[in-house]
C-alpha cells in the first residue's frame, strides 16, 4: 500500500543529501527527505497516522497500522540539548492522526545555539526505491513530503 508522508514542519523541503550530517545525508538511517524549518517557534506534527512508539524531545517515531515507522529528527545533534527548548504535547504510546501536534520547538533558538535545525524525515527500514514523489521547496506542516510504496 502506498502511504503519503506529510511534512511535520513548516519550512523548505530539501533533499536528504543536503542534511549537514553524513549519516542522514548518506541515507544510512533510511531514505526520506528533510525540512529546513522556518526560524520561528512551531509545532512538529505527525507525518503519518499511527502510534507514537518513541518520543524524545528532539526526535520521534510514528508507526503506521501496517508496521511502517517514520522518524522525525528535529535538528542535527540536538540530542545534546537534553530537551532544552522542546515542549512535549503528545505522549509516547498515543495513537495519532496525521498532522496531530507532537512537540513545540524553536528552530531559531537551535540555530542560535550553534546547531542546524534541519530536520530529517526518514522511512525506517525502507529501500530507497520504495520512496518517490519527494517534494522540494516551500512546505507547510501537513503538506505532502513524499510517498512510500
Amino acid at each position: 500500500m502506498d502511504i503519503s508522508i506529510s511534512s511535520p514542519l513548516t519550512g523548505t523541503a530539501i533533499g536528504l543529501a543536503q542534511v549537514p550530517d553524513p549519516v542522514f545525508a548518506g541515507s544510512m538511517v533510511g531514505p526520506g527527505a528533510a525540512v529546513d524549518p522556518e526560524r520561528a517557534p512551531q509545532v512538529a506534527v505527525a507525518p503519518i497516522a499511527g502510534r507514537l512508539v518513541k518520543l524524545k524531545p528532539h526526535a520521534f517515531v510514528v508507526q503506521s497500522e501496517d508496521g511502517r515507522g517514520v522518524l522525525v529528527h528535529l535538528g542535527i545533534d540536538t540530542v545534546n540539548l537534553d530537551g532544552e527548548g522542546f515542549e512535549l504535547i503528545a505522549v509516547e504510546g498515543d495513537v495519532l492522526h496525521a498532522g496531530q501536534p507532537i512537540v513545540t520547538w524553536n528552530p531559531a533558538l537551535v540555530e542560535a545555539g550553534g546547531l542546524s535545525p534541519v530536520s530529517p524525515v526518514i522511512a525506517l527500514d525502507a529501500e530507497s526505491a520504495a520512496i518517490d514523489a519527494i517534494v522540494n521547496g516551500a512546505v507547510a506542516a501537513g503538506d505532502e513530503l513524499f510517498h512510500w510504496r
Binding site: V23, M28, V29, V61, L71, H73, N80, I122, L124, D125
Partner: protein
C-alpha cells in the same frame, strides 16, 4: 545460541546516528541477530525501527544473541565490540 551482554559506551545511547551504524553492521551479518535490554524482549537488530524503539541509553547493558549458524559467534562479537565503542566519539 551465542549470546553476549555488554555495556553501551555511547553517552547518548543508540539514538539515530549510533543506531544507524549498529543496524548497518547487523545487516551485514550472515545470521539473524537480536538485541535486548536487561530482562526485556529481544528485538531484531537489523531493523532501525526496532532498535530505535528499544531506546537504549548510554551505560545501559544489552544482550546480543545470534541464531545458531555459521558465523554466529563472530557476529555477536562484532556487534558487542561496536557497542563497547563510543560511536559518537
Amino acid at each position: 545460541m551465542p549470546e553476549r551482554t555488554v555495556t553501551v559506551a555511547c553517552k547518548v545511547g543508540l539514538h539515530a546516528r549510533p543506531a544507524a551504524v549498529f543496524v548497518k553492521k547487523a545487516k551485514e551479518l550472515p545470521v539473524p541477530v537480536t538485541v535486548a535490554k536487561d530482562g526485556g524482549r529481544p528485538v531484531n537488530a537489523k531493523s532501525m525501527l526496532a532498535v530505535m524503539s528499544l531506546d537504549v541509553r548510554g551505560g545501559e547493558r544489552v544482550t546480543l544473541a545470534a541464531a545458531d549458524g555459521e558465523g554466529a559467534a563472530a557476529a555477536v562479537d562484532e556487534l558487542a565490540e561496536l557497542l563497547e565503542t563510543d560511536l559518537d566519539g
